[in-house]
Amino acid sequence: MSKPTLLLVDDEERILRSLRMLFFTGYNVRMTTDANEAIRILKEERIHVIVSDQRMPIMLGAELLRIAREISPCTMRILLTGYSDLDASIACVNEGEVFRYLLKPWSGEEVKQVVADAAAIALATFANERSPYTAAMLQQKARILVLDSDESTVHAVREVLRDSAEVIWAGNLQHATEVLSQVDIAVLVADVMLDGKNISYMLKTVKQQYPKTQSMVVTSFKDTSHLIDLINQAQIARYLPKPLRKNILGRNLEYLIERFRAVCTVPLLQTRHSVAPISDPKEQAQAHGLMDLLNRLRLHRATA
């Protein structure tokens, strides 16, 4: 029988016992308070979903999830933490590549739903018998869209990519929206702060509308709760603090271009980055506006 297997890791065993009850039926549940034990389990057993705490004695959750990604790339990774600090959240994006970042105390319904979604995705990807992102390359030039009013960002991107990709620069939302409606974008590089305004909703909308597009946030804006929302609702693939370091930028851009190609070849992989709905009402309204604009532009293009 193919019940998905869930691995719960937390240094407080009462958390483990409590969580286990949520998954009493429908799952095989493995649990441990010891991160090293978790690593051993990941090596020896097929784990569909891992849910880890962040603050633990031997290693941080983000670190454990990074290791999980190496050992078992198909396992879906979820962080469940009572501490929301920025460094942890950044590590969760860049290293842990987590599917969701959840906070304690949690809502039972939400956790159940998230784990169920993750389990379904994992079952499908494991069944696909292919490790993610090693799909054959499409030998087509990738397009990168840089959305940042600060021109130095696009310069940096052009410099590191040379002519291995086509780099388009949009200094404002209107322009970016036009580009998105017209061509396929492999990687969207954006600052969440555009001329002093937070454009998280843009990233969230893009992921909803163009799930293949990988987004990289480059910013000096520091806000943990915004970042957590970007993880859950935009599945941003990378978060690089400004000022940008060229080698890191280059490495990550190449990785994301590859990931885009993999997702194009194996559409199933898209589901691994499916997003939670936008939670903030104001952002919902903004996202609606943006979607309207996108639709109109697409229609316009179709009729032209």
Partner: protein
């Protein structure tokens, strides 16, 4: 020169209403005037025409002329105006003292041979003595210095207040840390209760089904089919949910929940005790309680990292401001934890000698380099990154210990660790509640 007079802090108080002379007055008349009691004290006499000062003639200048060969014969009949200094030192009646003093000292000739003229709206009003002006200025300066001193000490005490409020801010951070700490037990307690609630619903249904079955079997009216249908229904329910097993689990979860609630209440209680900001409140308490409270509040930064070794002696309860001493211990523990890179130990020792209680907090952290030791109690001295330390912890600690009539000392070895030693008077230590309210 002249008798001591009351000198004020402004030009009016320096003004001497001296009768001036007109410029046409023959020079020789000055000889009598300078000897006249009304002019006995002055260095110079103002020359005024139509109320307007036109010059100043000094004793010095006068004798100079008379000492010249035939000076008296040659010049005696000539008008004073010809010999007077046509641009005498002049200040206005309304001029601020400091400004006047600056003008006079900047322009006066040495040796000093003339006084200065005081005018009001351009009209002659009187003269003033340069020495008076300087004296007034000096007095003013002394007063200013005093005011400066006062302002300084006011500033210092308001800085103390500031320091305290900064500490409040970092207490705020601590509270945020504790809030996070609460999230763990809150997480499982809430979840357990939710699950329990759901399970309760299942159990109720199950129970109702059993009751129906029993009723059907006992009432003698139900058919065998009805009874077996009921049994079937129960069997299905049992297959769908292993209620029995879940009930067994639930027991454990209930115990966990009680434990978690205990944890939460302990944290909240500690937080309440800790942040009692009527910080002057004094009480007779055991320092061991203060230490326990600080350890509890600081758990967030200590756990997983620091082993606490308690070597508690038999110490008497002392009269003190507990919330302030809590803060002292928390500061020391925080510093120690921050000085420990990976894992380490904090040893807390207490003992009692005669009239004093001693507390030692020793860590196995990185130690304090000799060049910093003298500065660690200074406000705003910190070696920590922005956001990690404000450099106020130890200065507040120091202040609190002092207010308790005690002292605090430090010994440290780089690479080995640091030890803070506090001595507090055991009896009658506590003086003035007022003092502590700072």
């Amino acid at each position: 020169m002249h008798a001591a007079r009351l000198i004020g802090k402004d030009i009016p108080s320096l003004t001497i209403a001296l009768d001036p002379i007109p410029s046409h007055l023959p020079l020789e008349e000055l000889a009598d005037l300078f000897r006249h009691p009304a002019y006995a004290e002055v260095l110079s006499i103002p020359v005024v025409d139509d109320g307007k000062p036109v010059g100043m003639i000094s004793r010095h200048r006068f004798t100079d002329i008379y000492l010249k060969r035939y000076g008296r014969e040659l010049y005696g009949k000539q008008p004073v105006g010809n010999f007077a200094n046509k641009s005498p030192l002049t200040v206005a009646y309304e001029q601020p003292l400091a400004e006047a003093a600056q003008h006079i000292t900047g322009n006066m000739q040495l040796p000093l041979t003339e006084d200065f003229i005081i005018t009001r709206n351009g009209k002659y009003l009187g003269i003033g003595f340069v020495m008076d002006l300087i004296k007034a200025m000096e007095m003013q300066m002394r007063a200013d210095t005093e005011a400066l001193d006062q302002a300084y000490s006011r500033l210092k005490s308001s800085q103390t207040a500031l320091v305290q409020s900064e500490k409040m801010a970092s207490l705020g951070q601590m509270v945020a840390g504790v809030a996070h700490e609460i999230n763990t037990p809150l997480g499982y307690v809430q979840n357990n209760v939710t699950i329990g609630n759901e399970l309760f619903g299942h159990v109720q249904n199950m129970f109702a089904s059993y009751e129906t079955l029993v009723d059907k079997m006992l009432d003698g009216q139900s058919s065998a089919e009805e009874v077996s249908a009921q049994i079937q229904q129960i069997a299905e329910m049992r297959a769908a949910l292993s209620v029995n097993e879940m009930l067994g689990e639930m027991r454990g979860l209930m115990e966990d929940s009680l434990y978690g609630i205990g944890q939460i209440s302990e944290l909240v209680l500690n937080l309440k005790n800790f942040s009692r900001m009527d910080s002057a409140a004094t009480d007779t308490v055991s320092l061991h309680d203060c230490i326990a409270s600080a350890l509890n509040i600081g758990r967030n930064i200590l756990k997983n990292k620091v082993e606490i070794v308690r070597q508690f002696g038999d110490i008497p309860a002392i009269k003190c401001a507990p919330s302030q001493l809590n803060q002292v211990f928390l500061n020391l523990f925080t510093n120690a934890a921050q000085a420990i890179a990976d894992h380490g130990r904090i040893t807390i020792k207490t003992w009692h000698v005669n009239d004093a209680v001693h507390i030692e907090v020793a860590d196995t952290g990185k130690g304090i380099p000799a060049e910093n030791i003298a500065r660690i109690f200074d406000p705003f001295f910190t070696t920590k990154a922005i956001g990690e330390g404000t450099g106020l912890g130890l200065s507040i600690t120091y202040q609190i210990i002092q207010q308790h009539g005690g002292d605090i000392r430090v010994t440290s070895r780089v690479g080995e660790g640091t030890c803070f030693h506090i001595r507090l008077p055991a009896s009658a230590a506590h003086h003035d509640a007022q003092l502590l309210a700072a």
